[in-house]
């Protein structure tokens, strides 16, 4: 599925019985809230445990473009991005946070992950595609405030061990990043 396809109607899934959809909706929302709580509690090692082995964690670069040039608003897969991580790189990010010398997170940031407007886009086998609006609020030291808002398209997968995050594509509502860094997990 093309995660760049904004505002797409969730057609196949929307046609399923309401009771079935409500159950999955509840299940996915609770998973995403629990995942957000782990990040806000700085339980990064536990968060890694929620990731599928083939996770793709990606944040393309957004540009200010004219209406006639909107297909170039985001960089494409394979071009430059802010994040383009597989499981190995995400594990390194967590190891870095645990290293005791990640100065950009020591003292640690305070973050709050808000997840809303949760829409199941599609269910294909074990993979559930879900679009959310997010607000990631971070403060650091005494005066640093970051407010990252955007749209996310996640794939949550059913496995024998429970739900796992198999894809996170992050479409930020900023072009110039108004932050010193992005040392926080989205």
């Amino acid at each position: 599925m093309d995660t760049l396809d904004r505002g797409r109607a969730a057609a196949p899934w929307a046609g399923r019985p309401a009771a079935e959809r409500a159950l999955v909706q509840f299940e996915i929302e609770q998973f995403l809230y629990a995942e957000a709580a782990l990040l806000d509690a700085r339980r990064y090692r536990d968060w890694l445990g929620l990731l599928a082995d083939d996770i793709h964690y990606w944040m393309p670069i957004r540009r200010t473009v004219t209406n006639s040039d909107l297909e170039r608003e985001f960089t494409r897969p394979g071009d430059m991005a802010f994040f383009d991580d597989d499981r190995t790189v995400l594990e390194m990010r967590v190891k870095k946070l645990e290293a005791g010398s990640a100065w950009s997170e020591d003292p640690p940031s305070r973050s709050r992950h808000f997840v809303s407007n949760v829409r199941i886009l599609d269910v294909e086998g074990d993979d559930i595609s879900v679009e959310v609006a997010f607000h990631l609020y971070r403060t650091r030291l005494d005066t640093e405030v970051d407010s990252w808002v955007g749209r996310r398209v996640d794939v949550v997968r059913r496995t024998g061990e429970g739900l796992r995050l198999a894809r996170r594509h992050i479409f930020l509502d900023q072009t110039l990043i108004l932050s010193t860094n992005m040392s926080t997990i989205f």
């Binding site: 430059m80 290293a99 932050s179 010193t180």
Partner: protein, 453 residues
């Protein structure tokens, strides 16, 4: 050209020269916090010097444009119908509104959203609504074209512009160090910029972001966590005892690891095939081909360090990326990362290079994340009444090294980790700031060092 006379009431020539002492390495912290000095920098450094605009590959077709800055002046870098690259101040001549509000794109002309004045790709004013009626046909359009940079020139496909007609040619401005730096990017052949410029803002003075690129001392400590995460072998890239510094006119410098001269002499004997084979076997530094010596010079070709093209263009990871440090006030800097790959690179190689750039630098980079706060806290400390009097001590290696001159005219030092690059940068900064014109700047340049330094 404004001459800075108004703010100079606050900062006279002697006062400016006293802000950095090259003989002791003592730097006055006010250079990182003073508003009047910042305004003078915009006039005497950014409006006067050559500023990096973009690479050829970013604007290949007529009408392609990219927005950049000269100091705080926003400019449109655009290729016109004749293929000529123009650098136009992005400000309508009527009331000053911005013409281009997208950061890149393709245009047939530039139309102001305020009253509809329309400019050609070369900046000519071609249309004014109501010209014959409201203006009674009396408006002289010929004097109201967009303001153009005084000079626009390129080297190896990299476009630069200056607002000062007295500036020397780009070739002369770049000198050995500038040409080595750009040659480093092109050492393996033609290149192109990957789509997507990473941009972020740091609450720091732009010069702290610049001087840090010469600083190989901070790597083991600031970036320790990138090492212990397993992402990068810091000791493997650092070569603390094999550092090569190059210094040139106008404050340009290179600092960082360098292939020792004896090792390079061996490489010089090898064919390009043998160099490529050895690079594959060792998986270490990519040995540069013979042609690179032409581009980079006999000493420059040994450098795998960080060039800074004065004032604010960093060339990094042996040319994989360049980063602009754009001033936004004494306490704010935008960082713009451009990623560069060989033209027509095989997809696996291109993908590997793009991944490296994404994971290493930029605001989310495993290495870069830890720099910003050092810089913002350093800037903050320069604002305190007491803090700003305390000075910074850039004395590492001072008086301990020998500067040499190569037959090609390159001035360089083979040494260990040091602060020569930072001292040279602030010495250059001081000369630019004290001079009221290009002529005065050129006349005041110190001789390039030879002997004890």
């Amino acid at each position: 050209m404004a001459d800075g006379a108004q703010v100079c009431k606050a900062w006279g020539r002697q006062e400016i020269l006293s802000l950095f002492d090259p003989d002791t390495g003592l730097l006055d912290r006010r250079v990182h916090s003073d508003e009047a000095l910042y305004q003078l920098e915009l006039e005497r450094i950014f409006a006067r010097g050559w500023n990096f605009m973009c690479h050829d590959s970013q604007i290949p077709e007529p009408g392609d444009y990219f927005i950049n800055y000269i100091g705080e002046d926003q400019v449109i870098v655009v290729r016109d119908q004749e293929g000529q690259v123009n650098v136009l101040v992005n400000s309508c001549r009527h009331r000053g509104n911005a013409l281009c509000r997208a950061e890149q794109g393709r245009a047939k002309s530039f139309v102001c959203s305020y009253h509809g004045w329309n400019y050609g790709l070369d900046g000519t004013l071609i249309g004014v609504p109501g010209q014959s009626t409201y203006y009674h046909g009396a408006l002289d359009k010929s004097r109201l074209g967009l303001h153009k940079a005084a000079k626009v020139e390129s080297h190896l496909g990299f476009w630069f512009a200056t607002m000062d007609p007295q500036a020397p040619s780009l070739h002369d401005y770049l000198g050995h160090v500038g040409r080595t730096g750009l040659g480093m990017i092109c050492a393996h052949g033609d290149v192109e910029v990957v789509d997507g410029i990473q941009k972020n803002v740091i609450d720091c003075n732009w010069k702290i972001a610049v001087d840090n690129l010469f600083d190989w001392y901070h790597v083991m400590y600031s970036h320790a966590s990138a090492g212990s995460s397993g992402y990068i072998d810091l000791a493997g890239i650092l070569h603390p005892k094999e550092q090569l510094v190059m210094l040139d006119n106008y404050g340009h410098a290179i600092s960082g690891p360098g292939v020792p001269a004896a090792a390079q002499a061996g490489i010089d004997q090898m064919s390009d095939e043998a160099r490529a084979a050895l690079s594959r076997e060792t998986e270490g530094l990519q040995l540069r081909p013979r042609a690179a010596t032409e581009l980079m010079g006999p000493v420059g070709v040994r450098s795998h360090g960080h060039p800074n093209l004065f004032p604010n263009l960093w060339i990094t990871i042996s040319g994989l990326q360049v980063c602009l440090r754009l001033p936004r006030g004494p306490s704010k800097t935008e960082l713009w990362w451009f990623t560069i790959v060989p033209k027509g690179a095989p997809p696996p190689l291109r993908a590997a290079m793009v991944r490296t750039a994404t994971h290493l630098f930029g605001p989310a980079g495993l290495l870069e994340q830890d720099d910003g706060e050092n810089w913002s806290q350093t800037t903050r400390a320069a604002r305190g009444v007491t803090g700003r009097t305390l000075g910074q001590f850039l004395e590492m290696g001072l008086g301990q090294d020998e500067a040499r001159r190569s037959e090609a005219g390159e001035h360089y030092i083979d040494t260990q980790i040091n602060e020569h690059g930072q001292r040279w940068f602030y010495r250059g900064w001081r000369d630019w700031m004290a001079a009221e014109s290009w002529a005065e700047l050129t006349a005041s340049l110190p001789p390039l060092p030879e002997g004890r330094l």
